[in-house]
């Protein structure tokens, strides 16, 4: 099946009910490459704590697995209804859910049961989805479908987000329109889906004054063009391969990041351009960047990449460092923005030369560490949903 140039950037984050260790909301993302479809399920289990946690995990796992396997919505919902354990206190088994199913990166189906209606922004403007109600296994389910366009943003959330601030900043929580207004200011900044979810959740948390009265979860889906970014780090093991490595690297479509002092020297020689290091320490711990005409970014190697790896791990976790890397000008923040926000496909060109000067010192930048950094970073980026290729030289 031929697909368009679009892809979905999906990112979610949860806030636990104040005092709870487990979250009663759960998000499950399942990609099926064979049918080129992606199913995202956000489930909100009844109550909070461990029961809600189990209900939401069961619901989201069952629905995502069944829908991805090509089973009908009816069957999936029936299975959920029949499987969920009944709460002994309340006598009901209950978990609300929202499904976003994307097919071929060209159509999206939104299926909702009792969750707040998904917000759709098209070019930053609110676009109401045309929901129709269907009855499945005695449950009223809302369905909508839409054709996808570049820059479409879907923001779906549990009711804990809407209820934020009840009795504190607002009488009845902030309204859907307020959320639309708030989020439409950020849609074109370039933030990735995870960061957009984080931004909404940070505001939710502040409306709750840091003590959420309910589990709150946001899941954002951004429809965007695929964009390749290439990163070269380290000279090749055999110095005769420099030209080969550089010609393959610069032949690639997309942005080009050169990491490492020696490596940038090799890149500058290959391009026959001057290497111009700056002396600007925007971050005291990260060495300054440099410039070479023809490269989008030139940085030092191991120290910088180590910091990028820290940011990547943080993004996958609670993402509370995005305010640092999303605006700062040091090498690590610049790489982080290019890899985490701009890129969808990343090609690593890794040179396996052992820098003799590094090995004989007691400095923490040995060859093994460099290889380990690249490996861990590419694993993190894969978890962010990026397609990664690593070539060694």
């Amino acid at each position: 099946m031929k697909t368009n140039e679009l892809c979905a950037d999906i990112g979610y984050l949860s806030l636990n009910h104040f005092g709870e260790q487990l979250c009663g909301d759960h998000v499950e993302v399942l990609e099926t490459p064979e049918t080129n479809s992606t199913v995202v399920v956000l489930a909100d289990g009844l109550g909070s704590g461990v029961k809600a946690n189990i209900l939401s995990i069961l619901t989201s796992k069952i629905i995502s697995t069944m829908l991805s396997a090509g089973l009908s919505l009816e069957e999936s919902v029936k299975t959920v209804v029949e499987t969920l354990p009944v709460c002994s206190v309340r006598g009901v088994a209950y978990s609300t859910f929202t499904v976003i199913r994307i097919t071929n990166n060209s159509r999206a189906e939104i299926i909702q049961y009792d969750n707040p209606k998904t917000i759709m922004l098209r070019n930053g403007k609110n676009m109401e989805l045309a929901f129709e109600e269907v009855n499945i296994a005695g449950k009223k389910i809302n369905k909508a479908e839409t054709q996808l366009m570049e820059n479409d943003v879907f923001i779906t959330f549990s009711d804990g987000v809407e209820h934020a601030g009840v009795g504190l900043s607002y009488n009845f929580g902030w309204k859907r329109e307020d959320i639309v207004d708030y989020m439409s200011t950020f849609w074109d900044v370039g933030f990735n889906a995870k960061t957009l979810s984080t931004i909404l959740l940070e505001h939710t948390d502040s409306l709750y004054e840091g003590k959420p009265g309910d589990d709150a979860t946001v899941c954002t889906v951004r429809i965007r063009k695929r964009e390749p970014v290439n990163l070269v780090i380290g000279p090749p093991a055999n110095r005769d391969d420099c030209t080969k490595m550089m010609s393959l690297f610069f032949a690639k479509e997309g942005k080009h990041i050169v990491c490492g002092g020696t490596t940038s020297g090799i890149a500058a020689d290959y391009l026959k351009k001057e290497l111009r290091p700056s002396l600007n320490f925007s971050d005291p711990d990260i060495p300054p960047t440099a410039q070479i005409d023809g490269c989008d970014l030139v940085t030092e190697g191991v120290v910088t990449i180590n910091r990028v790896l820290d940011y990547a791990k943080n993004l996958l976790d609670d993402n509370n460092a995005y305010q640092k890397w999303s605006c700062k000008k040091d090498g690590a923040s610049l790489i982080a923005r290019m890899l985490f926000e701009d890129a969808t496909d990343i090609n690593f060109f890794v040179g396996k030369a052992v820098n003799p000067a590094h090995q004989n010192t007691d400095l923490p930048i040995t060859f093994t560490i460099k290889m380990q950094l690249v490996k861990e970073l590419s694993e993190c980026l894969e978890k962010m949903g990026k397609r990664i290729k690593v070539c060694y030289f």
């Binding site: 490492g260 002092g261 020696t262 940038s264 020297g265 290497l275 290091p277 700056s278 002396l279 320490f281 005291p284 060495p287 300054p288 440099a290 030092e300 190697g301 191991v302 120290v303 820098n355 000067a357 590094h358 004989n360 010192t361 400095l363 923490p364 930048i365």
Partner: protein
Amino acid sequence: MKITVCIGSSCHIKGSRQVVEQLQFLIAENKLKDKVELSGTFCMGKCQQGVCVTVDDEFFSVSPETVKTFFESEVLNKL
């Protein structure tokens, strides 16, 4: 006169930022901005002797502790 400080990985860990900042300060303090050009470079290939610094083409090994003496003997004295 041109002073070049290595800002590569190894020299960075050994304190090239402090060396750069102190040199920037000393140059400003002695009002030498139009006589001394301070620039950075990536790896000079002598990581073990870092922080690597060259004055015109002469090599020096400097540390954040020795910058001041280095500046007095190799820069101020030779201008």
